[in-house]
Subunit: 109 residues, 2 copies
DNA sequence: TTTTACCCATAGCTAGACTAGGGAAGACTA
DNA sequence: TAGTCTTCCCTAGTCTAGCTATGGGTAAAA
């Protein structure tokens, strides 16, 4: 068992926004999808996810709607707003910029 | 003026360790070097740097020694310990792993 | 002698991810 | 029919660690 990998602070919003860019999803589904796409490396804990979704609603990046899930359970579906789409773009480019900068530092002998 | 870029939480130790892997340096010099190598993207604030160095001393990753700087001022030079070198290796591989995982998520259409 | 660059450090704030709980409801199984 | 599993939601409280703001001291340059 490898050490548990946490979500780097600051990247959770980006991961959620990106996941929702493909269409509306409920929270549980978002976590599963991130887990799957990351090859089981990233685990989004529910105690991180739901508070983050609340904050994102407040910031106006998402809107939410209750409706039955594919498994016929009550679920809250989240959708990106225009502002959320813009935020996603900003976070993606900021992430690329910072990762590039860090690489420059750690790859210099 | 672009938005100020912060050091992503969790990467500061790695950046410091990597910088010190090239030899002993004082705090001020570490910050300057990270700034330079990152092409002026990363700014290590003194209020982040010195507390981090203290924590790293306590963890045993660094040892410190007071001696005059190149500019003839009193300065505290930090050196990697064996444990710090090991930690650097772990942080580098963990960072690579997480960045790869995040890329998989954000590059999936 | 005033300013600038160098160099160290702490207190208090804050964001945000975590652990550890607490539900409820459909579906499957004994 | 009961029991358990899976799916789905949520909150309280903790903790890490980077930030702002502040303070101080010394050598060199203007």
């Amino acid at each position: 068992m490898g050490k548990k990998t946490e979500i780097p602070p600051g990247t959770l919003y980006m991961l959620i926004l990106k996941t929702l860019a493909g269409g509306a999803m409920h929270g549980y589904g978002i976590a599963q999808r991130i887990h799957l796409l990351s090859n089981n490396v990233l685990e989004v804990e529910e105690g991180s996810l739901y508070p983050a979704l609340q904050r994102m609603l407040i910031k106006g990046w998402l809107k939410a709607e209750w409706r039955p899930s594919e498994n016929n359970r009550r679920a809250r579906y989240y959708t990106l707003t225009k502002s959320g789409r813009k935020q996603l773009g900003m976070e993606l480019s900021e992430f690329a910029k910072v990762v590039t900068a860090i690489h420059r530092v750690i790859e210099t002998a």
